[in-house]
C-alpha cells in the first residue's frame, strides 16, 4: 500500500515536470539569442550558423539559423539581396513572398519555395526562408524538409524565440 502511494507520488511528480515547464536551452550567436525546438539536436557549422534536426526525423526536416555579416545600407538592401540569393538554388520556385513581424517585434520577409538540393536532384524539397533585420545584420531562419510540416510548429517556435540580447 505504502509502495503504491509512493509510486503514485513519483508518477505525479514526473507528470508535473513537462517539457513546457522546463527551462529551454538557448543558443547565442553574437548578440542574437534564440531557443531551438526541444529535443532537437544541434550541429554547429561555423561561428554564425547552427542547424537543428529532430532526433527522430522521418520528414527529413531541419531548422538553420544564420547570422549574416553586417550589411551597409538600409533594410531593403538586405531583403533584396536575400531575394536575389535564392536564385543559387537549383530549380528554385518561390511560391509565396510576404513581410513578417515576430512576437519580439523583429521585421523581415518570408519566402516559401521549393528546390532540388545538391546531391538529391531527383527529390523536391520545401523550404521556408525567413530573413529578419536585427540592427545591421540579416538573421536567416530556414526550415527545410523533404516532407514539410503543414503546421510549421517547430519553425514558428524558433521564429518567436529570436531576440537581440541587450
Amino acid at each position: 500500500m505504502k509502495a503504491a502511494i509512493l509510486l503514485a507520488a513519483v508518477l505525479a511528480m514526473g507528470a508535473c515536470t513537462s517539457s513546457s515547464d522546463s527551462e529551454e536551452p538557448s543558443a547565442t550567436v553574437g548578440d542574437i539569442a534564440f531557443s531551438p525546438p526541444p529535443g532537437w539536436l544541434v550541429q554547429e557549422l561555423g561561428s554564425n550558423t547552427r542547424v537543428w534536426v529532430p532526433s527522430s526525423n522521418p520528414r527529413k526536416e531541419s531548422i538553420t539559423i544564420i547570422v549574416g555579416p553586417k550589411v551597409v545600407g538600409d533594410a531593403q538592401r538586405m531583403l533584396s539581396a536575400t531575394r536575389s540569393a535564392l536564385a543559387v538554388l537549383h530549380d528554385v520556385r518561390v511560391t509565396a513572398d510576404a513581410p513578417v513581424t515576430t512576437t519580439n517585434g523583429l521585421t523581415g520577409e518570408r519566402f516559401d519555395l521549393t528546390f532540388h538540393p545538391d546531391g538529391a536532384t531527383n527529390r523536391l524539397y520545401g523550404r521556408n526562408h525567413i530573413v529578419l533585420i536585427v540592427g545591421d545584420h540579416p538573421v536567416h531562419v530556414i526550415y527545410t524538409a523533404a516532407t514539410p510540416d503543414p503546421n510549421h510548429l517547430a519553425l514558428d517556435r524558433a521564429l518567436a524565440s529570436i531576440r537581440k540580447e541587450s
Binding site: L86, G119, P138, T144
Partner: protein, 136 residues
C-alpha cells in the same frame, strides 16, 4: 718670429688662392638656363603636328565590319582552284550561325545571373545554402 710670420702669410695666401680657384671652377660648371633666343634653344622649324593627315592622305573613318573596298592585289574567285572555290563558298553560308550565337548569348546571360545571385548570397551570409540544412 719674422720667419714664422712669413710662413703664416704664405700659407694663408695659398689657402685663399686655392679656395678662389675651387669657387670659380664650380661656378663655371653650373648650368645656365638658356634664355629665349640664346644659342642653346632649339629653333622651331616646319609646321606643328595637327593630328590629321596631309591633304590627299586622308583615310576616313574606319568601319571594321564593312567589307573593304576592292584592292588591285585581290584574287578573283574565278581564278581560284576548285578546292579553294569550294572552301570560300562554304564559308559564305552563314545560316547556321544564329543558333550558335544564340547559345553563347544564353550561356553568357545565365552565367551573369548566377554571378549576381552568388554575389547577393555572399553579401548576406548565405554561402552554401544549396546544401545547408538538407537532410538526405
Amino acid at each position: 718670429m719674422s720667419s714664422f710670420v712669413h710662413r703664416a702669410a704664405l700659407t694663408a695666401s695659398f689657402v685663399l688662392g686655392l679656395g678662389l680657384a675651387i669657387h670659380s671652377s664650380r661656378t663655371s660648371a653650373d648650368p645656365v638656363p638658356p634664355g629665349p633666343g640664346s644659342d642653346l634653344t632649339e629653333p622651331v622649324t616646319g609646321d606643328p603636328a595637327l593630328g590629321y593627315p596631309e591633304p590627299g592622305y586622308e583615310t576616313g573613318p574606319i568601319h571594321p565590319f564593312d567589307p573593304s573596298s576592292s584592292d588591285p592585289s585581290d584574287v578573283q574567285i574565278e581564278d581560284l582552284s576548285p578546292d579553294e572555290q569550294a572552301y570560300v563558298e562554304a564559308n559564305l553560308d552563314t545560316s547556321a550561325w544564329p543558333p550558335i550565337h544564340n547559345a553563347f548569348a544564353a550561356a553568357t546571360t545565365q552565367a551573369a545571373a548566377d554571378a549576381t545571385a552568388q554575389a547577393a548570397a555572399n553579401l548576406v551570409g548565405l554561402d552554401g545554402i544549396e546544401s545547408t540544412g538538407v537532410v538526405p
